[in-house]
């Protein structure tokens, strides 16, 4: 699962609304990823401010 850099993330919800597997939830202060993530890499690539790194655990 991607790893969120909480110091960069602007909680904009772009990754949440774009994830093809609905594997991200924004609880207003941080992102939560669930097991539906297929590591497709989309969210990390399109984050406007580069706050996600692919492939944590």
């Amino acid at each position: 699962m991607p790893v969120e850099n909480v110091n960069k993330c602007l909680h904009c919800g772009l990754c949440v609304g774009s994830c093809p597997n609905n594997a991200i939830f924004l609880n207003e202060v941080r992102l939560e990823f669930n097991e539906d993530c297929t590591e497709c890499g989309l969210c990390s690539r399109i984050c406007p401010v580069g706050a996600l790194t692919p492939g944590g655990k």
């Binding site: 602007l10 904009c12 919800g13 772009l14 949440v16 609304g17 774009s18 093809p20 609905n22 939830f25 924004l26 609880n27 207003e28 989309l42 990390s44 690539r45 399109i46 984050c47 406007p48 401010v49 580069g50 706050a51 996600l52 790194t53």
Partner: protein, 395 residues
């Protein structure tokens, strides 16, 4: 927290507040929830709003939320060609730069005055089902979990929407239908506060840069890039920083804020309703693919969904079938425009800088009485027939 409502609206953006307002006005017992602690902030928006579109959603204009009134929009090509779209000629399509925080709160106030309950710091966590049927929502409010029953859920939860996906409505869009955006509020800059400006071409592949004036020396300066084109995280911000650094009028810029966000630029979805659920605004992917404008569409669809929800409560019918009245109403207003602008955007995204210079130069030269995608294409066809081949199916 009460245990039961007729209608719960998820998200207090312009779409949700307008939906809650019209549902409550129609007599439905309505709850509007917003996960943030403050309605309206952070402002995640360029704040451009077409005047004419406000009427579509019966929104009373309030001086308090108008930052700036503009005469028109200016489209600027990579080589510096400028095409001005004046308000009258654009059929009222340009107009205000607003204070979104105040605007959103004004709409929430209207919902409250109409009788809707509003709860902030209250987030929908999932749809509550019994025997496969939707009976309500799982919520968390100020840290406490609640299950609240309702007959109708209106998903107004914006670009990040999950209500639709929880309910089984397919709102997934391809990366070519996503714009990845970042925007700064800059002050101490030199701008023309009478125009909103759009910069096209390789400064923003698959999208554009916008400068929307807030006052004489302050503007929302943002960028949207086609998500299928970006190669790595953070690229929109890099592009925007590079562009700003090159603007002589922005040498002494002071940054007041930074926001990011996603815009959908897709063709209209096949369906935005199912039994017990209607989606409005960004949750229903209703942003205009050409302009990126979504505020007015959110309000208009919110109004339609709110009215239909109130009727459904009276008729005791919460079926997908009943909600077709809503589908017809919003599609009647904007579906054709969304579809045409989506097709046009797909083509515009592929134009080279030279072509942009040619086209925008041509438009500036011929001027235009009645501005529409259609008329623009016709003008191009007369001069550069080879360019319109691609666009032929739009004419």
């Amino acid at each position: 927290m009460q245990k039961e409502y007729d209608v719960i609206v998820v998200g207090a953006g312009p779409g949700g507040s307008t939906a809650a307002r019209f549902a409550a006005m129609g007599g439905a017992k309505t709850l509007l929830i917003e996960k943030r602690q403050e309605i309206g902030t952070h402002v995640r928006c360029g704040e451009g709003l077409a005047k004419g579109l406000l009427d579509m959603a019966e929104i009373p204009v309030d001086r308090n939320w108008i930052a700036c009134e503009v005469d028109g929009a200016r489209i600027i090509s990579p080589g510096g060609m400028k095409f001005e779209v004046d308000e009258a000629k654009a059929g009222n399509e340009t107009g205000y730069v607003i204070e979104r925080d105040l605007f959103d709160r004004a709409l929430a106030k209207l919902a409250g005055e109409a009788g809707a309950d509003i709860k902030v710091k209250t987030s929908a966590l999932g749809i509550w089902k019994e025997n496969g049927k939707i009976v309500g929502l799982h919520l968390i409010s100020n840290g406490e979990k609640h299950d609240v029953r309702c007959k109708i859920i209106i998903g107004a939860d914006g670009y990040e929407s999950q209500v639709g996906r929880w309910a089984g409505i397919d709102t997934t869009i391809a990366d070519s239908d996503i714009m990845t955006c970042v925007q700064y509020r800059l002050t101490n800059i030199q701008i023309d506060s009478k125009y909103t400006e759009f910069y096209a071409g390789s400064c923003a592949p698959g999208g554009y840069i916008w400068v929307f004036p807030k006052n004489e020396n302050t503007a929302n300066v943002g960028i949207g890039l086609g998500a299928h084109i970006v190669k790595h995280g953070g690229e929109p911000k890099e592009y925007l920083d590079r562009w700003i650094a090159k603007q002589p009028g922005m040498k002494n810029a002071v940054q007041l804020d930074m926001v990011a966000g996603g815009c959908s630029i897709n063709a209209p979805l096949d369906s935005v309703v199912c039994d017990h659920v209607m989606l409005v605004g960004d949750a229903a992917r209703m942003i205009d693919p050409m302009t990126g404008g979504g505020i007015a569409h959110a309000c208009m669809s919110g109004m339609q969904a709110g009215k239909v929800a109130a009727d459904a409560i009276k008729a005791k019918d919460y079926s997908k079938q009943f909600f077709q009245t809503y589908e017809k109403a919003w599609r009647g207003k904007i579906e054709e425009k969304l579809f045409r602008n989506w097709m046009a955007t797909e083509k515009v995204q592929k134009l080279s800088d030279e072509t942009f210079d040619k086209l925008i130069g041509l438009l500036a030269e011929v001027g235009m009485e009645n501005i529409s995608v259609f008329n623009i294409l016709k003008a191009i066809k007369d001069r550069y027939p080879e360019l319109v081949k691609e666009f032929e199916d739009l004419l």
